[in-house]
Symmetry: D2
Subunit: 342 residues, 4 copies
């Protein structure tokens, strides 16, 4: 485990608890954090520099939960030392860095897994299943609200911190890439940090996604709506009883209708209202699922669910969002993202 601040202990706890992995060492620059780790895990090797760990051939894999700015160097060092790597999202500080890391992982034939935690939640898995089974029909929109008061981060803005979750979910749920993107936000002080933003993605005229992220909201909301021609989804991650609801509601054109004599033909839309169901969700912690998946990828060669390519795409979209933001919210066209790995 490299980095033992906020997220590191959570990852450590899961790797310590599952069969197939053993937590042998923790690396952190802070002696205080290492003391904490030592208190929780006996016989743990605690180091302040990653060098020693890289040389230890008994270590197969490294989990990295450090500030984003350090990702590139650390992941790269681990990969070329022959370690499999699990790294906090986002993968790196830029898409160039991210692409380089994907290439390195490929060259060294190592597993590179990005901790896009939501992909390992039972709710997103159930949404994915509903999509696969065609339960929602053609998806028209995705709307996500991810707001709360603080905690303000100084290393990344609110888009990199919170919108990255939704970008990873979008990348996972839909097979086709968005064609354009735009972002607006409030910066405070003007032109500096961005603690509130709205990010819009378009798939031509076929689909729209909007992500509202904020550190300035008096209430905490984590709610995603997905609407399609045959069904709709509400995913409320804070609902203690019912996180996921799938509505048998439909939206559909009712055919061209000639309105008011000479007026041009106009399609009309109508809707169908049906039952709602809340599938039974496993209560397994996403991080537990993630840890187990990482082990499976290493030991059984399972295909990586949140692989380097997805990490690259998420960063490309974040960079496009920054460009749009800097230019007052203009739409930015996205090239159909190509796979870095082959």
């Amino acid at each position: 485990m490299v980095g033992y601040g906020y997220w590191g202990p959570l990852l450590a706890r899961n790797f310590a608890a599952i069969p197939g992995s053993r937590l042998v060492a923790v690396c952190d620059s802070s002696d205080e954090q290492l003391a904490l780790a030592r208190m929780h895990y006996s016989q743990l090797r605690c180091v302040t520099s990653i060098i020693e760990l890289l040389e230890d051939s008994r270590i197969d894999a490294v989990a990295i939960a450090t500030p984003v700015s350090s990702h590139f160097e650390l992941v790269h060092a681990c990969l070329i030392a022959g370690k499999h790597v699990l790294v906090e999202k986002p993968l790196a500080s830029s898409s160039n860095q991210a692409r380089a890391l994907v290439k390195t992982a490929e060259d060294y034939r190592r597993v590179l897994l990005i901790d896009h935690t939501y992909l390992y939640s039972s709710a997103v898995q159930a949404i994915s299943a509903a999509l696969t089974h065609g339960e929602l029909g053609e998806v028209y929109y995705y709307d996500s609200v991810r707001i709360n008061l603080g905690r303000f981060r100084s290393d990344v803005d609110v888009l990199w911190d919170l919108a990255s979750h939704d970008l990873a979910i979008l990348d996972y749920l839909f097979n086709d890439a968005p064609t354009s993107l735009q972002a607006v936000g409030f910066t405070y002080p003007p032109g500096e940090m961005c603690p509130l933003a709205y990010l819009t993605l378009r798939w031509g005229e076929r689909r729209i996604a909007q992500i509202h992220v904020s550190w300035l909201a008096p209430v905490k909301v984590r709610r995603t709506l997905i609407g399609g021609s045959l069904g709709m989804v509400v995913f409320d991650d804070l609902d203690p009883d019912t996180k996921l609801r799938i509505y048998d509601h439909g939206i559909a054109g009712t055919g061209p209708s000639n309105r008011q004599g000479d007026a041009p033909l106009q399609w009309r839309i109508g809707y169908r209202r049906g039952e709602m169901r809340a599938p039974l969700l496993s209560i397994a912690e996403p991080l537990r699922n993630l840890a187990e998946h990482f082990i499976d990828c290493i030991s059984k060669g399972a295909p990586v669910r949140s692989d380097g390519d997805s990490g690259v795409r998420v960063i490309e979209w974040l960079e496009a969002a920054q460009r749009s933001l800097a230019q007052g919210g203009i739409p930015v066209h996205l090239d159909i993202s190509t796979k870095v790995s082959e």
Copy 2:
């Protein structure tokens, strides 16, 4: 009362109930609707053409609740016949029409009041009071979600139907006009009707407002967040117990801080978390308040809260939104709106 469809009966009921007004006639093109009116009000004059009403000198004022496309002609006819006019929002089909009506009302010295219903709700009144008393400090953002499943309208799109409420509220709450605006949406069928849209308004770098309106959502939401340097507001119009909450939360720069040695100076933002209070709201119906205000404007010359100028500005913003929407969501600059009336 002109127009006795969905909204007309609600207005009629209020004018029939308050002192200072008497409901004497209803005009509607449908005999069926007139029969309904006749059943509810005895000694009511029911007509299918507005002409007869205009000639009746005993009628002082006309309330108009007809489709938007008919507003211009009807309002104009009433004003030049010397009647005071209350008209459903939006005032007209275009800002040109709207400006012409404001001019006519001025020329004929008649009251022209737009039914921006929310301005007459006790919640918006309480928010306005909190702003006036400086309880929120400098307002940084306004975020409104106004979504539900249907009812699809064929005469106006979702922006004209639902976002117009928020535009009227913004116009009322803030003294300064937005400087730019952009809108994105989902049209179905592509390029035709717009049942889902996101509208963003900017006040330079100082403030941002976002309005999410939709007829395609599986759940009904009517929730507005307002965040300022000293306080924040949650207005949830569907909460049966607590529609309005005012949080003593603050957002503020903590001054420049030198991060990581040589790194550039950076302002940091912090927040303060305090108590929340829910002011006691009058349970008076907004439409009742509106009806009483209309009577006051006519009989006592009270200044009109939702006057023609506000109606013009709302339409100018809706038109700017349409231009943005048609060009893929580009930002549109707004001239500082000047008053039509002098």
Copy 3:
């Protein structure tokens, strides 16, 4: 229509709107209320004494929405004048009175329908269907919370006002009668009015129902839980989106298990957690359904859903609750209620 206070106008509106009935006369002791009625319905006969209406042979049926203390006399007078009667719940001030009215209705072969409004709601109809289809299995408990702040009534206490709704629902949903009942409450001033009470009903050891009613609660709640061996229900009448949820959750004994060696055999209970579904509910107003049902009973001889016998049982239970309340909450045994009508 006899009585045009709070509830009368709502009933009147529905009878005026449905085919098969015509609202011809309203009776109320207050001239002010009659003026209100006259304003809403043209060609309406308005009287202050019921006598004139009883003599009018063109009137087939009377709806009564007056204070409870007047029910007995009014219903009786209407029945012997040959009118069918719909009367507000509770049917009368005592079970003796209620039984007498049932007998009279039988003797004069008139329809006597109690306005137990909830039985005509789509939610209770859906619960009834779920029970009939065995979806809940054996029902173990019914728990209802019906609380808010005010409105305090001076003619009846909170049990007669609010708990009567649940007693009617229980009577409708379950085929078997409760065997005992107890009630505790808070009276204010001590020994006088009861604005908060808990009523418990038992069906031997097989089932328990608890009803919490209050005019002293800071929040409004209308929520009923029903739990059975195979399924559970949450009926939240204030939820704007999902009033009814049916859970595929089960409770069941797992058989005797010998715990800790020599310890006595002990049954253990376990539970099964499954999906939840929210059936699509008709948005038809309960009062509309009720009005149509009344017409059907009169014109087609349909069996009365909330008949006089159910009205008698509800009052018997309320009287038993009062006896328990007066004696400090002791359990009161209930004779298996026999039908008055034959």
Copy 4:
């Protein structure tokens, strides 16, 4: 730490983290649980019998989180070995046992603290402050709903498991003891385990408390209402944003009023509706506060907030509830509980 099952690790974590205490040993009969403890804390002494710990004079205090049936023996052994004791609620299996333990603690001048966790939550502390400041006036009722699906326990029923929380809160908030109590419930299989119960406490005619506890509910609820003459409280422990709300609502008699001429004089009650406020609550974990309080009691002789006497009273009430339950819900009179300690 004695007992390292569900609750033990949580207590251990807090004692390991605060200044003033050091976690030196864990005792559990299960080797598996000890392995878990060893993994989390290095240099931890792990034993399967408490004897060794009692003899270790360097150990000042013992925290006990074992099944209730073992409490008496363990607490007693620790006290006579001169250790201060923190023990899970309830203190013992019977009030006789509990009284004996209080006597022993007194004889040996040791701190005996019951883990009535809620007394250490910031919400209950804020309610207590509101009561002390007279913000609620005279309290008329306390209503608590503490329900969810499972987890079924085999050592104690739902009253001992969940209602004990409310009994401790009631004991803490009010200076006067209840005068009578009754309990009804659903047992499954009949006469065996009780997974659903309603417990009512009375303070003469002055106040009523009702506690609804259940392991059979499809939804999780943790909500307490408190209503007084001047104010009301809603404490919703599951609300992610606003756990505590204090309403400036009042209930009061409006004096005798002569209703309807000759009718007997009748008091009427009225209500006042005012603002609501949500005090800012510290986010400190209750268990952290509890651990710190235990240390303060030992090192500074601070008066024990949840002392042995309170533990005795809670068990006396649970025993009275069992007697009522066994006799079909009859009211049981409570002697004004006297302090065991002097």
